[in-house]
């Protein structure tokens, strides 16, 4: 945690309401995302007892399995959910727009819009991955094309959710944790209602509202007390259905169970929606658009890959795991860089930590030349007077302008104390910088030690290395 966030958390604790950290919204918000709540029975990982979903502010729908411990009942319930989910998820693939041209002049198309699923907490996100794995181990007699497609989509969402900055699967507790300095401990912040009540409550201090907020459940695991009641209802359902497992036969007996889960989901869904739309009303940071384009690109790749009828195994291959890890790390670095450069409040964290510095430009020479290898080359120079409480950067370290954290870096050429106090820093751009707007004398400039560029894609060698069994 940064000092800025810690300070805001302490202010929130003192004032009785969480303080907002980020000035902007750093995730894309759709007008009508799919809100999703999943419930599973205790001790049964990967089994969905019920799924409640709602599109935007539309009516909620709850699908229950009856007894998810029975594989047939579970498969039929997931099939019914897939019949609703798959068409919604796939429909975005229909409309495509030009995105870019390849070096060979080929036009690449990307979907015009991408789906967005909103869940309450990281446990639900993890559960979606388990659900995808469960479908993969179903016997062939229970698997349907709709189920296979559902598993592909859920696995895709679960895998992508590890990428910071993506907005295909929004986890509201993570979103709140990023945008606010919530004055609670990490395990407490896992409950959406608890995190949300520190932001929005009608008491004098959030601590007075915490106990009531903790009563609301978001799944996937309900409270033990509630489960004890539903255990009896499930027992009655099993007695009523006998040996029947087909959906048509068991549906008449599902009402009591559906009613239980509907009542359980209603308050949670309301809080999930209110929290989302409250955050969506904030102005989006400029970089959100670029990341949403990346979401659309990845979604396009996914649906095109899924259209080939391919399946993923239960565990990722080493190559897949490597690519995924690489992508997550890069996404995280790019997101941190972009969000800090967009948002002065987030930049404050880096200024305090020494990852960025700023000052007023004393002199600026965009046409400064110096000897190159064969001829003189243009290397712009900027000298600025460092803000008093900024940590002076070490000579030779690379920085980027916060207004343009891309491309070739600036290098710190010299750091010298000024006679009247303070320090001046001279930076040299390591390229000509024709397209770059060089800060002029008298302007404030901020330099950051991170870039928002994605690095070159790492390729694995064509042949397996000896250390991994090759020759």
């Amino acid at each position: 945690m940064s000092y800025v966030k810690a300070l805001l958390a302490m202010l929130g604790a003192a004032e009785g309401r969480a303080r907002r950290l980020a000035l902007f919204r750093h995730f894309h918000a759709e007008r009508e995302p799919l809100f999703l709540l999943c419930w599973r029975p205790g001790g049964e990982d990967g089994r969905a007892a019920a799924v409640t979903y709602a599109l935007g502010r539309g009516p909620a729908r709850t699908v229950v399995a009856g007894d998810p411990r029975n594989w047939e009942l579970q498969a039929h319930m997931l099939h019914e959910f897939a019949l609703a989910f798959n068409p919604w998820f796939d429909r975005f693939a229909a409309l495509r727009v030009p995105c870019r041209r390849t070096k060979q002049g080929e036009e690449r198309l990307v979907v015009h819009a991408a789906p967005q699923v909103v869940v309450a907490n990281t446990a639900t996100k993890k559960f979606l991955g388990q659900l995808a794995q469960f479908v993969k181990v179903l016997p062939p007699s229970l698997r349907t094309p709709e189920l296979d497609r559902l598993a592909l989509h859920l696995a895709f969402l679960h895998e992508l959710s590890g990428s910071k900055g993506q907005s295909l699967l929004v986890v509201m507790t993570q979103a709140l944790d990023f945008h606010y300095a919530i004055p609670l401990m990490a395990p407490e912040r896992q409950s959406l209602s608890v995190a949300d009540v520190t932001v929005c409550h009608d008491r004098s201090h959030y601590i007075e509202a915490l106990v009531n907020a903790e009563e609301t459940q978001f799944g996937p695991l309900p409270a033990t007390g509630w489960e004890k009641e539903v255990f009896e209802v499930v027992r009655q359902f099993n007695a009523a259905r006998g040996k029947a497992t087909d959906r048509a036969s068991v549906t008449p007996f599902l009402d009591p169970i559906e009613s239980e889960y509907r009542s359980l989901s209603a308050p949670a869904l309301e809080i999930l929606r209110e929290s989302y739309y409250r955050e969506a009303s904030y102005t989006a940071a400029p970089s959100v658009q670029g990341r949403r384009l990346e979401d659309r690109r990845r979604y396009t790749l996914h649906v095109d890959w899924a259209a080939g009828g391919r399946q993923r195994g239960l565990a990722p291959t080493p190559w897949h795991a490597f690519r995924w890890m690489r992508r997550m790390e890069e996404d995280a670095a790019v997101f941190d860089a972009e969000s800090a450069c967009d948002d002065p409040a987030l930049m404050a964290e880096h200024l305090v930590a020494g990852g960025a510095f700023r000052g007023r430009v004393i002199s600026s020479d965009p046409h400064h030349t110096e000897p190159g290898r064969a001829r003189r080359v243009v290397r712009p120079l900027v000298t600025l007077r460092l803000d008093e409480d900024c940590t002076p950067p070490p000579p030779g370290q690379e920085f980027w302008l916060s207004t343009h954290p891309h491309g070739k870096p600036w290098v710190v050429a010299e750091v010298r104390p000024l006679p009247a106090g303070g320090r001046f820093v001279m930076l040299r751009l390591t390229t000509e910088g024709r397209k770059l707007s060089i800060p002029a004398a008298g302007e404030c400039a901020c330099f950051v030690s991170f870039s928002a560029d994605r690095g070159p894609w790492m390729q694995l060698p064509k042949s397996r290395p000896r250390a991994f069994g090759g020759v």
Binding site: A13, P41, M185
Partner: protein
């Protein structure tokens, strides 16, 4: 304690602990309670509850501090089913995995100690476990290779705690492994990290108890007791068992150290207010304020620690949380904040530093104060410069 089959005279510690417990609900003195105590960072008040054998989950029932607890009936049923699978056909499932791990077993003899007795009458189970392990250490031809429900009488600060391990496995080389049978699945070779960690924490306590027993029987714990445990779980959502072998040596050392540092009953006696007993706290016939007052007194006298590990491991979480907020202590905000601000106890003190109103002679506190002051200036500046650009826009 059980020596030579005779029940020893009740110790002074046990008498005192029983007095402290009063009419409060009992925790049962099982390994889970010890694991929870270790997990809460050796909180003295939690330790007092452990010493007195009090269930913190049930202590504050009926008050606003009550926390939900208990096990799901679905989870209990699944656990029973997994156990049935493990025990079926002379524990064939365990034998197959054990042979894959340790090589073929020349003989396979299963003893079910749990079937011999009914809790809380531990004496029979503890004796049966001692006899079985005694034969193992002697290299007896009819010694068991798998002992279900092995019972231990573990001495903790001169008080006897009873634990029941799921099973003990004796390999062909005569090394004894603690076996845990759990119902969470291992999918694609990966088990849930948190649940596996909890299983290992529990198993590490059994390893300590087993070492003590082997030592008492004249064996060499370093040679006969493995630091590794076998956790049997269903594979890929089905009921076919697979195993995970994990080294709990470091965890066992940590647990042993934590238990060694746990105050003894006489040490608690010096701090606990005279006449205190948990029965007053648990008494639902009394007003909430009357119930909580003695707990507050003993918490002040004995001390508490507060951290994220308390949630889920201690039924006094809400009670302690309210105390933290009442005293405006930084611990309420978690170690992410307290680790950043060493030497600063309350958020009022930290905020005074950020405003430059507090002076401290400690160098680390001065550094913290400078950074907080800088953070304050920057955040105020950021919010002032933001203006209308970030104001909420109704969609």
């Amino acid at each position: 304690m059980y020596e030579g089959g005779e029940l020893m005279v009740r110790t002074v510690e046990e008498t005192l602990a029983t007095a402290w417990r009063g009419g409060a609900p009992s925790a049962g003195n099982n390994s889970r309670e010890v694991a929870k105590y270790v997990a809460t960072g050796r909180c003295p008040t939690r330790g007092l509850c452990l010493a007195a054998g009090v269930s913190t989950d049930r202590l504050l029932r009926g008050t606003r501090y009550e926390v939900p607890f208990g096990q799901s009936p679905f989870a209990i049923q699944r656990g029973r089913k997994v156990e049935e699978v493990a025990r079926a056909n002379d524990a064939q499932a365990i034998r197959l995995r054990a042979e894959a791990e340790f090589g073929p077993f020349a003989r396979w003899r299963v003893v079910d100690v749990a079937a011999l007795y009914k809790k809380p009458d531990w004496e029979v189970g503890v004796r049966a476990t001692r006899e079985a392990l005694g034969r193992v250490l002697e290299g007896d031809a009819v010694a068991p290779t798998l002992i279900f429900g092995a019972a231990f009488a573990y001495e903790l600060k001169r008080r006897t705690q009873h634990y029941e391990a799921d099973a003990l496995l004796v390999t062909p080389r005569g090394v004894i492994y603690v076996v845990e049978i759990k119902s969470f699945p291992k999918v694609a070779g990966q088990a849930d990290g948190q649940k596996l960690g909890e299983a290992m924490a529990q198993a590490s306590i059994y390893v300590l108890a087993l070492r003590e027993l082997v030592s008492r029987l004249g064996g060499d714990p370093a040679r006969h007791v493995s630091d590794e445990v076998l956790v049997f779980t269903p594979e890929n959502f089905r009921l076919r068992l697979t195993s995970t072998k994990k080294d709990v040596g470091r965890r066992a050392r940590y647990t042993e150290e934590a238990l060694r540092l746990m105050p003894s009953v006489p040490e608690f006696e010096r701090a606990v207010p005279r006449g205190f007993n948990f029965g007053e706290v648990a008494d639902r016939g009394r007003e909430e304020s009357e119930r909580v007052a003695p707990l507050e007194r003993v918490a002040c006298a004995v001390g508490t620690t507060f951290g994220p590990e308390c949630l889920g491991n201690c039924g006094l979480f809400r009670f302690c949380r309210e105390r933290q907020y009442r005293d405006r202590r930084l611990d309420a905000l978690g170690p992410e904040v307290t680790n950043l601000l060493p030497g600063v106890e309350t958020w009022d003190e930290a905020l005074e530093h950020s405003e430059g109103r507090a002076q401290s002679g400690l160098p680390n506190v001065r550094v913290v104060a400078d950074r907080l002051a800088r953070a304050r200036r920057l955040i105020d500046e950021a919010h002032a410069s933001a203006g209308a650009g970030t104001r909420r826009v109704r969609k």
